[in-house]
């Protein structure tokens, strides 16, 4: 039996979720299928920066313009997942003064507000900055929570008749007479297959774009580039810190909840499913971050992660170019691909995509996503420290102070059998031990609540430990190495998991 809808969106990153929200607000029925949890691709693996546009003013004024426009919109509509940190572009000794002049001129032309600060003024704002800096320029950069952003976009969809299927992988595009008419999606754990049919299929799968396009018999020329980031155990700055120089490796530090993210590298890759972080990348990023914030060098790093930038091959032979940043491709077989872009411009991308769909359907309804605040922000406002501290008994995750009640609530309300779902929604396992202790507990509880069998629970635990190690391994030294050896002794020693 197949499900019928108007639009199927493949991909639960910011773009896909943004399209779902936009369609919901324009009254178009849709299904979204995502093979993992929300934001499991580039959306969740970026630095969570809501660009002011400053980064692009010198080389790409169109992108800069899009950024400042969307930055202004998102600060208004997504207050609970944007932290208005402000940002600094820091010029260190040796950094070009000419670039600085072009930067200020570009910001001025784009309408990006800047304030030039002396080193002492900048140090007042961010005491950990390198005191040897020449100057700093303040811009309206913000920190944004990509995962919550996806959840909130999905919220509107779900509450207006849309259907969101996470942990469902699109394994086949159903074609009839050369036209894509549906998707077969397989649930990850149970392998159950759902057949969904629609009039239009949207491929919003980022780095997996070409793979999905090929399922429908077309292709999209892409260049994949991985960008690796590191996570420090402390929030060393309350503002976004950029290096005032042409874009290069390791030029950004973004505060996020209790930690800081520093990145990034840019290395071409072939397969988005085969990602590995070279310890040398960690050294590059840590070394550059240390230039801007010297204490980054002595701060414990809790892990590294990497995301894939889905860049378009510069040719432009098919489809129409919306901007240099992103592109909508009409495969002329019932499927569209939307590619490129950045987190900051996800809403604009969704708007342009849905405009195309509306035109195809002959509908007139205008986009309202820029005016209406994201729904559900109070309900899904994360898990602030103040709330965590109020229930200190029965703590399951000591690093992030997550209680048994919170874990049980997440399991019961979502009905999930994925440990990642709990981690994303409660911050369980996000601290220094990276779930080394609490994931065992969360899975034990999930098993006690009857969500998974003990055998499956252990299988999930093993997969988790392997995944966790992948993120930790490239940045293992200092206290993190100490902790890792303890975790190793627990699972391979006390529990003797290797033979289990």
């Amino acid at each position: 039996m197949s499900i019928k809808t108007d639009v199927i969106i493949i991909g639960g990153g910011a773009t896909g979720c943004g399209i779902a929200r936009d369609l919901a607000l324009r009254g178009v029925h849709h299904y979204l299928v995502e093979k993992g949890d929300f934001a499991s691709g580039a959306t969740g693996a970026c630095h969570g920066l809501l660009h002011s546009g400053g980064r692009y003013v010198v080389n790409d004024s169109e992108a800069a313009h899009e950024c400042i426009t969307e930055n202004t919109i998102l600060r208004k509509i997504a207050q609970k997942c944007v932290e208005t940190t402000g940002g600094l572009f820091v010029r260190l000794p040796g950094d070009s003064k000419r670039y600085r002049d072009r930067f200020l001129k570009g910001c001025d032309e784009m309408g990006i507000a800047t304030t030039v600060l002396s080193p002492s003024k900048a140090l007042d704002l961010v005491p950990n900055l390198n005191p040897a800096m020449e100057e700093a320029i303040a811009v309206p950069d913000c920190s944004i929570d990509p995962f919550r952003l996806c959840m909130l976009n999905a919220y509107t969809s779900r509450h207006r008749g849309g259907a969101i299927l996470t942990h469902h992988e699109a394994i086949e595009i159903i074609k009839e007479k050369g036209v894509c008419v549906g998707v077969k999606a397989r649930e990850r754990l149970t392998s159950q297959i759902k057949e969904i049919r629609a009039r239009i299929i949207i491929n919003a799968t980022g780095a997996w774009g070409d793979r999905i396009a090929r399922l429908g018999g077309s292709e999209v020329p892409m260049t994949l580039s991985k960008g690796s980031l590191i996570v420090s155990n402390h929030r060393l700055t309350n503002m976004v810190i950029n290096r005032l120089r042409p874009p290069s490796d390791g030029d950004i530090i973004v505060p996020n909840e209790a930690v800081c993210l520093a990145g990034t590298t840019s290395i071409p890759i072939d397969d988005p499913d085969v990602l590995e972080i070279d310890p040398a990348e960690v050294d590059i990023v840590a070394g550059e971050a240390e230039q801007m914030i010297p204490s980054f060098g002595s701060t414990r790093l809790i892990r590294a992660y990497t995301g894939v930038r889905p860049l378009l091959k510069a040719s432009g032979q098919d489809g129409r170019s919306i901007s240099r940043g992103f592109k909508i491709i009409d495969h002329e077989n019932g499927m569209f691909s939307i590619l490129g872009g950045k987190l900051t411009t996800y809403r604009l991308m969704a708007e342009k995509m849905v405009d195309v769909i509306m035109e195809r359907f002959g509908l007139k309804m205008k986009c309202r996503t820029a005016e209406l605040p994201l729904e559900g922000q109070d309900e899904l406002s994360g898990y602030p420290l103040s709330k965590r501290l109020s229930t200190m008994d029965d703590i399951i995750c000591e690093c992030e102070l997550v209680s048994r009640n919170t874990v049980e609530h997440a399991i019961n309300t979502m009905g999930t059998h994925y440990v990642g779902d709990i981690q994303h929604r409660t911050r369980l396992g996000m601290g220094p031990c990276q779930g080394g202790f609490c994931t065992f507990r969360a899975l034990g509880i999930m098993q006690e609540l009857g969500r998974v069998s003990p055998e499956v629970s252990l299988k999930i635990l093993k997969e988790f430990l392997q995944r966790r190690f992948k993120g930790i391994r490239p940045a293992l030294w200092g206290d993190q190495l100490r902790e890792e050896q303890l975790i190793e002794s627990i699972y391979l020693g006390i529990l003797n998991m290797e033979s289990g």
Binding site: K470, W477, I494, L495
Partner: protein
């Protein structure tokens, strides 16, 4: 500054440091043990792995160890000596250990696997061979590090029941077993379950001080063998092991400086003369004729890795490092024994650092290069054997 003169100063209060100082104090030397805090063995199962990765007789596996492995320096005889002394010391305390150095045994883990080890506290004796009998697992309401279904789903002939101790951490439950009447109530409840014949297993929470007596009382009441299953850290059996050894040292007249990191080292030429301890009050200076470094590996802080090298944290002795950082860890988490485990201090046959510059400094325990304790599952056994051997080398120098 307060000043103390000793024959021997042992730095590090873990298994190897405790073993070395127990032996030397027992021989009548004025012995000081310095520790920054409670040791890593408090996080262990409390069981002594001698060589769990190489067949049923741990001693038979020695030949297969690489040339530089500390066991090769100690020799089988040295391991047997350590085994005898350890068993003797523990038998004098409240937690005798069972097992023999010539045969490994199995214990049940919290996830229903069996872990190979050699010597176990008496409270885990009945765990060996429990595959063949009915095992009834008891858990405690709300306990967060023990989920009995992992065991009952893996082992066919099992069942479980839940007891409400009113508290949920292993440490708090163990403290309850110290309360008057608690163990009796528990035993009464257990007797009321009318279990089929077999054994009763429970997480290791049977009190902190005298678990054997608690276990025997319960066992007597229900007419069945009872055994403990070691849990995730903090581990009660690990804590008991540490406390027993520390008490044994104090009984032998050893001086203990606890909770104080070393702030400086005094040398005269190739002789270490004293260490100064950082305290919140006045500084304490501990002088000795010989010193033993037993500060352990990374977890306990004897070694510290920076982005591109590894340091020994007290004396700055050059460390053997297995290649550049990119090679320290393999990709597979479950591949026990990453190359970084080889890191440590290389010692000669007299258990002095080869690359050190002090003639009266000895080294033992997991800080020794090529120990690879996760790879070989030999942690506590190696600590005891090298601790005793280093102590005997000191004894020669002191005599």
């Amino acid at each position: 500054m307060s000043s103390h003169m000793h024959d021997v100063v042992v730095i590090g209060g873990g298994m190897s440091g405790l073993m070395a100082s127990i032996y030397l104090a027992g021989k009548g030397f004025k012995t000081a043990l310095i520790s920054r805090g409670d040791p890593v063995c408090c996080l262990s199962t409390g069981c002594i792995d001698v060589l769990s990765s190489r067949g049923s007789n741990p001693l038979d596996g020695f030949g297969g160890l690489p040339e530089g492995h500390p066991y090769r320096l100690v020799g089988k005889k040295g391991v047997e000596d350590a085994y005898k002394l350890f068993k003797e010391v523990m038998a004098d305390g409240s937690i005798p250990y069972v097992g023999t150095i010539r045969k490994n045994r199995e214990i049940l883990t919290p996830i229903g696997t069996f872990k190979t080890t050699c010597l176990v506290p008496h409270t885990m004796a009945a765990s060996h061979g429990c595959r063949d009998e009915y095992v009834h697992v008891i858990s405690f309401k709300g306990i967060k590090d023990f989920y009995p279904s992992y065991i009952t789903s893996k082992l066919k002939n099992t069942g479980f029941s839940l007891y409400d101790a009113g508290v949920s951490s292993t440490l708090a439950i163990a403290a309850r077993f110290e309360e008057k009447g608690f163990a009796e109530d528990f035993a009464l409840w257990l007797a009321g379950l009318e279990l089929p014949p077999g054994k009763v297993a429970l997480p290791a929470v049977l009190g902190l001080n005298n678990p054997v007596a608690v276990m025997e009382a319960i066992s007597l009441r229900i007419g069945r063998e009872v055994f403990e299953i070691p849990t995730l850290p903090p581990s009660i059996p690990g804590f008991r092991l540490f406390r027993s050894l520390k008490a044994a040292l104090q009984q032998r007249g050893g001086d203990v400086f606890w909770g104080m990191p070393i702030s400086s080292v005094e040398r005269h030429g190739r002789i270490v003369e004293a260490v100064t301890l950082a305290t919140s009050g006045r500084a304490t200076r501990v002088q000795g004729r010989v010193f033993i470094l037993a500060t352990g590996s990374f977890v306990s802080g004897g070694l510290f890795a920076t982005r591109d090298s590894v340091h020994e944290t007290v004396f700055g002795i050059p460390v053997h490092v297995p290649g550049p950082r990119k090679d320290w860890f393999r990709r597979d988490f479950f591949n026990a024994g990453h190359p970084i485990e080889e890191a440590g201090i290389e010692a000669d046959a007299s258990f002095r650092p080869i690359h050190g510059n002090s003639t009266n400094l000895f080294v033992c325990g997991s800080i020794l290069a090529h120990s690879e304790i996760m790879k070989y599952h030999c942690g506590h056994g190696l600590a005891l054997a090298t601790g005793l051997k280093a102590a005997k080398m000191c004894e020669r120098m002191l005599a």
